[in-house]
Symmetry: C2
Subunit: 321 residues, 2 copies
């Protein structure tokens, strides 16, 4: 294997360094979902993580690597969602300034959350180009360090700690399912499974409506989406040159699911487990249920990525019941 | 004290008898809600209980007391909600027939849940008189035993076990807040606090729109509601002659809250704790927040009564954010 991936020891050090800053989230089971899937499921509840998503792990690990000079200058990212909150809270933990570039169209509740964590918000036009330009301008003006939400090895290593904890609780998992969006969570999970699993495999769940990662695994190069019309708003982004080689090497399969399948699994998690998760978190369960014949009686970990949802815009309606 | 309330030993035996049939539900904390309330809060999560509510405890304890002849004949209740499910599941655990009278207007999802647990549903007109008449007819025809959801001592003693578990985890609570509807949960909680608390007090939270219990405590006799237009649909019922004497003796205070206060606390629990609870469960937190000046720095247990909600009919809208 040519690729220089992080070593086992480095992941253990990462986990230890994060201890004071992240929750060890609970692992929940559901008799009903076991019955329904025919497998034995272990849900790693990153919706209960600080700021409400696994993103806290990667952001925190990234700022922990900063030199004194870098800490002095601060950190920058652009985000319409969870990563902005994660960077703001991670920076706050170390007394670092956090500049968060947010599209002007971002919901007020997300801007307010970033502000609660002390993030300094700059608004920009709601395009990726505008976001990148504004972040670059801030880097130039302040000397702050730019953090990417998924395509940065420190972030990936931080993300790995969720699956490490899950494998500590359940060492005999046969599979761990995660959502796949920008690729940062699944790359970290795959590293954890590689070093700490016992004949365990990592499987991705992806919306059919934004199946760039599925196509990338087929062609062997990073593919992009022409549109991303999925309710799983955390999974609309593309893979990157840091995470894709890890995914190509360590993720044998991605299973694609429809919007109806995502919404049905989201409803199952809310109704049966009584927990609030975001639509992206329902994608791996939907993937498992879709292919449940192949996973019968297996022990399966599922990473519930986060729980920051807009309660005023839920996809549940009477007609779907 | 003239009232013959259940003894400490009887409650301990009840708890032991229920062990195989109920979950020991987790106790969750929230740094943000601690900060917001100025107190230290411990949430007892009965939304994670079997069939999704504390009602499982009382129903199970009641059927456990049945003689062989009573088991043979079965159990009857009338319910539009959680208690029907609880009785059906409790009966299923012991291989007993459960006759559940439900108003024809009950949501399909609730009927389906009762059926899942093997309950035999009889539909009737959506009035209390029709429900009682139909239940009486079944008792007469089958010899089955009628269970009341809140005004029966075995049910109250079963309900007490939630607060007993909470006090085992947190023996130094100053107060336990519960919702008050039919009175079965708060009566059980108050018994647990009386025997197992350490200078702990039980406080009720009640919707202003159905404040019969608050008025009953004032007048010293059971008052009723002329209308019950509250979102907390579990709290529309009146107290009974079994639970009211316990409440009068052991509950020093009921705090009333508006519908907006209930919805705001419901939102806080969903958004900040990432758990699904029913509107009735938000009432005690709303009561605490309303009077938070008086509870500053106190250790407070809050019983989250259940999590069976209709996801298609939530009270959250953008205008309220």
């Amino acid at each position: 294997m040519d690729l220089a991936i992080p070593q086992r020891e480095e992941l253990l050090k990462t986990q230890e360094a994060l201890l004071p800053y992240v929750h060890r989230t609970p692992v929940l089971e559901s008799a009903l979902l076991n019955e329904l899937s025919g497998a034995r499921l272990y849900f790693k509840c990153e919706n209960f993580q600080r700021m409400g998503a696994f993103k806290m792990r990667g952001a925190m690990n990234a700022v922990l690597q900063f030199s004194e000079a870098e800490k002095e200058a601060g950190v920058v990212t652009h985000s319409s969602g969870n990563f902005g909150q994660a960077v703001a809270l991670a920076a706050k933990n170390l007394g670092i300034k956090a500049f968060i570039v947010m599209p002007s169209s971002a919901p007020a509740v997300k801007k307010s959350a970033v502000r609660t964590y002390g993030g300094l918000i700059t608004e920009c036009e709601p395009t990726l180009a505008a976001r990148e330009a504004e972040a670059a301008r801030i880097v130039k003006a302040t000397g702050a360090t730019f953090l990417h939400p998924s395509n940065q090895i420190e972030v990936i290593m931080g993300n790995a700690t969720a699956a490490m904890e899950l494998l500590e609780s359940q060492p005999e998992l046969d599979f761990i399912f995660t959502p796949i969006g920008g690729g940062g969570l699944i790359a970290g999970t795959a590293l954890a499974v590689h070093y700490f699993g016992n004949e365990c495999k990592t499987i991705g769940g992806e919306p059919l409506a934004a199946d760039d990662a599925w196509r990338s695994l087929k062609t062997g190069k990073i593919e992009t989406n022409t549109n991303t019309n999925t309710i799983a708003d955390g999974l609309r982004t593309n893979l990157g040159d840091v995470n894709f080689p890890i995914i190509k090497m360590l993720v044998p399969e991605i299973i694609r699911v429809t919007e109806d399948e995502i919404i049905e699994s989201l409803r199952l998690i809310w109704e049966r487990m009584k927990i609030v998760v975001e639509p992206s978190s329902a994608v791996p369960l939907a993937a498992l249920i879709k292919e449940k014949g192949r996973f019968r009686n297996k022990k399966i970990g599922i990473i519930l990525s986060g729980g920051n949802v807009d309660l005023a815009a839920l996809p549940f309606s009477h007609s779907k019941q």
